[in-house]
């Protein structure tokens, strides 16, 4: 570890930290608890995804841009799982782009590079206008106003015990692993905003606390997009859609996910009773 010249540092905490060994996760978490006394005793889980450039490079070597384009919307599809490394700058978008371009033809790499551009887009908006990270960018287009939404996240959601089986499974993965597929993020965010009528800010805060890739711009602006405060209309779905994009191992049975059931029109009328019925 690089030592600073003694004369230049005079604060009480001027000694660099001795970090625990990468192979000893118990020592790592013990050290973190000592460094961050604010952590709750109940906050005990750590993810199987590990921070380190070598881990990032291993995932980068496995990317499959061609199949990405075909399967990315499926939970269990060929997504890269690079987001925590990108979020913390371990890998740059430019380097990943160069790897994609060296592997496949432009046509086959386009979808993945376009998705990466979403990150760049959100980052640029964040830089120009940091206020929109926590403020509604526009009004809700749900037939409700911001006052109609609850401020706080209820306990059942925070613990992944809503009783809606697929939502609980997605939240469970967030709490255990700090990860969630993009489609699952859309489902959970819409459930919180539209089925439970809770302010998107409460959900965004919850995600940022747990997602390893938690990023103020990508996360909060995506939440605003779902809520309709940064899009023309609210995002919603039905159980059939979850069934189409989920693996068989996920419980998407009607009896355990009843609130999500119905045609798109039926769900719309239920969620947005003040809006005109769609044609």
């Amino acid at each position: 570890m690089t030592l600073l010249p003694q004369k230049k540092t005079n604060s009480p905490q001027s000694e660099p930290l001795n970090l625990a060994s990468f192979d000893d996760r118990a020592a790592i978490t013990a050290h973190i608890r000592q460094l961050c006394p604010y952590l709750d005793d109940e906050d005990m889980t750590i993810s199987a995804t590990r921070g380190h450039k070598n881990m990032a490079l291993a995932r980068l070597s496995e990317i499959d841009p061609e199949n990405y384009g075909k399967t990315r919307n499926h939970i269990g599809g060929k997504v890269t799982r690079l987001s925590p490394y990108i979020r913390h700058g371990v890998l740059s978008l430019a380097d990943i782009r160069d790897v994609i371009m060296s592997k496949v033809k432009i046509r086959d790499g386009e979808k993945l590079i376009q998705q990466m551009a979403w990150r760049e887009y959100w980052q640029r908006l964040y830089r120009v206008n940091p206020e929109i990270i926590w403020q509604d960018a526009e009004d809700y287009k749900t037939g409700f106003s911001a006052q109609d939404y609850a401020d706080d996240l209820p306990e059942d959601i925070a613990k992944g015990r809503t009783g809606v089986s697929c939502i609980d499974a997605f939240i469970g993965e967030l709490l255990e692993q700090g990860t969630m597929h993009n489609h699952a993020r859309l489902y959970v965010a819409a459930y919180i905003c539209h089925w439970r009528r809770i302010k998107w800010q409460a959900g965004a805060r919850f995600f940022l606390s747990h997602l390893l890739d938690g990023d103020p711009a990508s996360n909060n602006l995506s939440w605003q997009w779902v809520a309709s405060t940064f899009s023309h209309k609210p995002y919603y779905y039905n159980l059939e859609n979850v069934q189409t994009f989920s693996p068989d191992t996920l419980d998407t049975s009607q009896e355990n996910n009843a609130v999500l059931m119905g045609t798109y029109e039926e769900v719309y009328v239920r969620l947005f009773p003040n809006l005109p019925t769609p044609e």
């Binding site: 970090l19 906050d43 913390h88 700058g89 760049e120």
Partner: protein
């Protein structure tokens, strides 16, 4: 030549960031483990573990200090230029602004992914994408 300093923060945990090649030598790189900042962000143990493990991989080049970011940066770079990896984070930008009142500070951008024209319409993603697509493929 006098010593220069590099502040690596949570948005740029890589030794490949151009801030390293850009900083004049000899340079001393630091990361500040600012628990008050992490608490403000409400980071769970999982998130902190991920960041900590990234830091383990950097420690041959980056010294990790615990404490208040602004105070420590002031103490550390009393007489040298400070190089900072670019960030959109307003909390970090505010700290950089304060340090810059007394020190020479230079912000160094990461390798560019997209070169969008200055007048690009940012109101919707596809307007941005249509004008920056070529550069995203590395053609500009």
């Amino acid at each position: 030549m006098s010593q220069s300093y590099i502040w690596l923060h949570e948005d740029s945990l890589s030794l490949d960031h151009p801030v390293f090649s850009h900083a004049s030598e000899p340079s001393c790189a630091v990361f500040i483990w600012d628990d008050a900042y992490f608490e403000r962000q409400n980071y769970s143990l999982k998130r902190l573990t991920f960041i900590y493990e990234c830091l383990i991989g950097l420690q041959e080049r980056v010294a990790v200090y615990q404490g208040d970011t602004e105070t420590l940066l002031r103490n550390i770079c009393v007489d040298g230029k400070l190089y900072v990896a670019d960030t959109p984070n307003p909390i970090f930008l505010e700290i950089i602004g304060k340090i810059a009142q007394n020190n020479v500070v230079e912000i160094v951008k990461d390798k560019p992914f997209i070169n969008a024209p200055d007048d690009v319409d940012m109101t919707r993603f596809f307007r941005f994408w249509n004008r920056s697509r070529k550069s995203a493929f590395g053609f500009e």
